[in-house]
């Protein structure tokens, strides 16, 4: 998702980095006979309803030579069914005042629309229809392949930081499918066939391999009846194959240099970490805030404010992935500064959190930031649906309810322990973007 969202990345970050918590969740869970799980959260503060279908398939489920298949299929899902003409889906949603979109990540493929309560039934019917009846129309296959190649050029090839993230992931993961980009390698995309799409659709698009999240201004019984009527008849599919690939332990730092036309050097340091199913995930969340949450954080104060060697810094713990992912520290380097100097300054700070406990007030500050962000995150129905869906995709949505309690329990000793355990130099992969200037004009 991170790579693919490109321009909208920051908008999403705002929503997602604010973990939402409900004191006690008002989410209600239902499961239809065909195995489709439905999560409903009523929220009447605005007149909007967000409806999302989450398929448990992403680049994680792809094989070598077929990268980008899930994402390609996402595009082709807009090419119609027997009832809805190609590209009509978006038009129908729009003329009913709604906004719709879809995205693919490593783990999931998600389709969604935001509409009024009176109109949301239109979206429900069309999503149920294309869950079973997408034509993946042959005529639109070649033009859409070109569109996807343009998308890759836009978001990756001509974007130096995205390119760096792509090659760094390909090195941090040697065996696990997280080493492949969601959009796919250019050559793979070119080689994908209609038959590949057809098989992928038949394998993964079924009610028992999907779930629905609805958040907003609706009445539970009314919308549940609509969902049952639309999705109930969709037949259960065979259980899709499980991904059983584990990334073998890393022993020793890996480095990659990317030389590309760019202005500022960029540094990306990935450490292997467990996902939110691990009890360490709360401390890892807080560690990322201590390091880079706000202008008073350690990395910001040292690199951006005092030393003035970085234009920006960030630390991000990605616990919301199905398989173990990475804790990443990133820095955009100031003009004429040496990325190696920035790298060294980062390691000095990381050594400090590994050798002495953070102070109590610092920890309290980080907890306050997470709690406030949690409340702010509830301001958006879309943001709430995203967070609920991510928890369900990764683990169980119920974990959201205990999130804040888990955060509150973390001690300075926990932070010290996880820093020591995971910020291990032998466990890191370092990517450095070295700008080169081409002969212009």
């Amino acid at each position: 998702m991170r790579l693919l969202l490109g321009l909208s990345f920051f908008a999403f970050q705002l929503l997602l980095s604010a973990p939402l918590l409900a004191q006690t969740s008002r989410v209600q869970e239902f499961v239809l006979d065909n195995g489709l799980k439905v999560l409903l959260l009523e929220d009447h503060k605005s007149p909007a309803v967000t409806f999302q279908v989450w398929y448990r398939v992403g680049s994680r489920n792809e094989e070598d030579g077929k990268s980008g298949l899930s994402h390609f299929l996402e595009h082709m899902m807009f090419k119609g069914t027997n009832k809805v003409a190609p590209e009509e889906y978006s038009r129908i949603i729009a003329k009913n005042g709604g906004r719709s979109n879809a995205f693919t990540t490593q783990d999931v493929t998600v389709y969604f629309a935001t509409m009024s309560r009176e109109k949301i039934g239109i979206e429900i019917d069309m999503e149920a229809d294309r869950m079973a009846n997408a034509l993946l129309n042959g005529k639109y296959f070649e033009p859409e392949k070109k569109v996807i190649m343009e998308e890759r050029r836009l978001r990756t090839e001509d974007n130096p930081v995205s390119s760096l993230a792509e090659v760094t992931a390909a090195m941090a993961f040697t065996v696990h499918p997280y080493r492949r980009p969601v959009v796919g390698w250019m050559q793979d995309v070119e080689n994908l066939t209609r038959e590949d799409l057809r098989r992928h659709y038949q394998t993964y698009y079924a009610p028992n391999n999907a779930f629905i999240v609805v958040v907003g201004d609706f009445a539970t019984e009314e919308i549940l009846a609509k969902i049952k009527a639309a999705f109930g008849p969709v037949p259960r599919g065979p259980m899709p194959p499980k991904v059983k690939i584990e990334e073998p332990p890393q022993s020793g730092e890996r480095r990659i240099i990317l030389k590309k036309e760019a202005e500022l050097p960029f540094l990306l340091i990935d450490y292997h970490v467990p996902n939110l199913n691990s009890p360490d995930s709360f401390a890892l969340d807080l560690l990322s805030v201590v390091l880079a949450g706000g202008r008073s954080s350690r990395l910001y104060q040292d690199l951006v404010y005092h030393k003035r060697i970085a234009q920006s810094v960030d630390a991000d713990y990605d616990g919301l992935s199905m398989d173990p992912s990475v804790f990443s520290v990133t820095a955009q380097v100031m003009p004429e500064k040496d990325p190696l100097e920035v790298e060294k300054a980062i390691y000095d700070l990381l050594e400090r959190v590994k050798s002495e406990p953070v102070n109590e007030r610092e920890l309290e500050k980080a907890k306050n930031q997470i709690e406030a962000a949690f409340v702010f995150g509830q301001d958006s129905v879309f943001g709430q649906a995203m967070r609920t869906g991510q928890y369900e995709a990764t683990a169980r949505w119920q974990l959201l309810d205990s999130y804040l309690a888990g955060i509150r329990k973390v001690t300075t000793a926990d932070i010290l322990r996880v820093a020591k355990k995971y910020l291990d130099p032998d466990q890191r992969t370092v990517g450095v973007l070295m700008p080169i200037k081409e002969q212009n004009q």
Binding site: G6, A11, K45, S46, E74, A94, G97, S296, Q369, S380
Partner: protein
């Protein structure tokens, strides 16, 4: 990610200001003693408050040769006051998990704070200090200058931004509206403390300020708190405010060479102001041409039929004193010429024949129906209310909007297309690998 980007939609939304058909905003307006225009919308669902200041202190007030001063002033607001250092300000904000941001545009500077209700007083007192007692210390000035220079360089890395910058320069030559708010490395060097203080004293004044407050507080309660906290903020000397005259530049083709895989194209010309009576007919026309996301003619002909681009759109930006029209798209270098030709054909077509009845109706239904759904966060509402005031639309605007859109006829669409789309005046900017793009007249 199939569709276009949230960030872009959010911007388009801010500028086009659609209306509320099902309003839950209950906006209230008053003028405080010191001249601040206060707009509020009481939203009790969450214990949070958003304050959004819009201050007439944008880059158009920068004297020639001193470009970047307004932006530097805005950036420095939160870097030190008489009583607090930059670090102390950050510590306070981070400890309460608040988000405070400043930005500078061409007409206005903004200061936005989102805070938990329980921390509102802390937030208000800090805002009051920032707006009345910033000190602009030489050390902080130097730091921000370096940071702005880095951000100017970073923009250069993004071919889409480069195209946008070149387009603005060509569209509004010798006008502040053609310049970047950041200024240049050269003009920034000349900025000093005395100039910053003078700008701050002159333009950061309550009678130049619109403040929208949305959240868990009543109009009366926040008005009292503001009067208390902002006691030191007094009206300034009257400023003779004649907006700059900005005649659009002539048709032109501008080529920028970069080693990239896609041509980034921005093509357009002058437009209308927000107060133009044809504004609504233009919005409807543009929705059909290229504003309607996946439901537009440009999207059909450039993306869906030919697979030439991932994203293509057109936009009429109607500001208080200037306006512009632009088509933006990216396509591989080799097909740049073809994409430009097709975009021009679509511009011609909508000028020559009436749009279909169905197209008109779909556009109207979307614009009217989607509006209330877009005001789905406190921040979106705060932004909306402040712009309603800035453009002088009146608090009744949300109720009037559906009628303003509904009464646009097919004849109106044809008339405004003929009048405001001017193929002979197109400025075409192409940032690309020029050897491959081979752009002809």
């Amino acid at each position: 990610m199939k569709k276009i980007v949230f960030a872009v939609l959010a911007v388009a939304f801010a500028l086009s200001l659609p209306a509320v058909s099902e309003t839950r905003l209950t906006p209230e307006r008053s003028v405080l003693e010191n001249g601040v225009v206060l707009l509020t919308s009481e939203q009790r669902a969450l214990p949070m408050v958003t304050l959004h200041f819009l201050i007439q202190a944008g880059s158009r007030y920068d004297a020639e040769g001193r470009e970047g001063l307004a932006n530097l002033t805005s950036r420095l607001l939160t870097y030190g006051t008489r009583d607090k250092t930059a670090l102390q300000i950050s510590e306070i904000l981070d400890f309460i998990g608040a988000s405070l941001s400043t930005s500078c545009g061409q007409d206005v500077a903004t200061v936005s704070l989102t805070v938990l209700k329980k921390d509102l007083d802390t937030g208000l007192n800090l805002l009051a200090e920032v707006l009345t007692a910033s000190v602009f210390s030489p050390e902080e000035i130097e730091r921000q200058k370096q940071s702005v220079i880095a951000s100017i360089r970073a923009k250069d890395e993004d071919p889409g931004q480069v195209a946008q910058i070149k387009f603005s320069e060509a569209l509004f030559p010798r006008s502040p509206y053609g310049r970047q708010v950041e200024g240049s490395e050269d003009s920034l060097k000349r900025a000093d403390r005395a100039q910053l203080l003078e700008f701050y004293e002159r333009f950061y004044r309550p009678e130049r300020t619109i403040l929208a407050v949305v959240g868990d507080i009543s109009h009366q309660e926040i008005a009292q708190k503001l009067t208390q906290a902002f006691r030191p903020w007094k009206k300034g000397a009257a400023i003779k405010d004649s907006p700059p005259v900005s005649p659009p530049g002539p048709a032109n083709i501008i080529r920028v060479n970069k080693t990239i895989t896609q041509a980034n194209i921005t093509m357009g010309h002058g437009g209308v102001r927000r107060s133009d009576p044809d504004y609504y007919a233009i919005q409807v026309m543009n929705y059909i041409l290229g504003g309607g996301g996946f439901s537009s003619r440009l999207m059909d002909s450039v993306r869906n039929e030919r697979g030439l681009a991932y994203s293509v759109s057109s936009h009429f930006s109607a500001e208080k004193y200037v306006g512009s029209f632009a088509v933006t798209m990216q396509t591989k270098n080799e097909t740049a010429q073809e994409a430009i030709r097709i975009a021009k054909e679509e511009i011609q077509r909508i000028r020559q024949e009436k749009v279909k009845d169905q197209e008109l109706q779909d556009a109207q239904d979307y614009l009217i129906g989607s509006f209330p759904l877009r005001l789905d966060t406190n921040r979106a509402v705060a932004n909306f209310l402040s712009l309603v005031e800035f453009y002088g639309l009146g608090l009744g605007y949300p109720e009037q909007y559906p009628e303003l859109i509904r009464r646009v006829s097919q004849e109106d669409v044809l008339r405004v297309a003929k009048k405001y789309l001017q193929p002979e005046k197109l400025i075409v900017v192409v940032v690309a690998d020029q050897k491959k793009a081979q752009i002809q007249k």
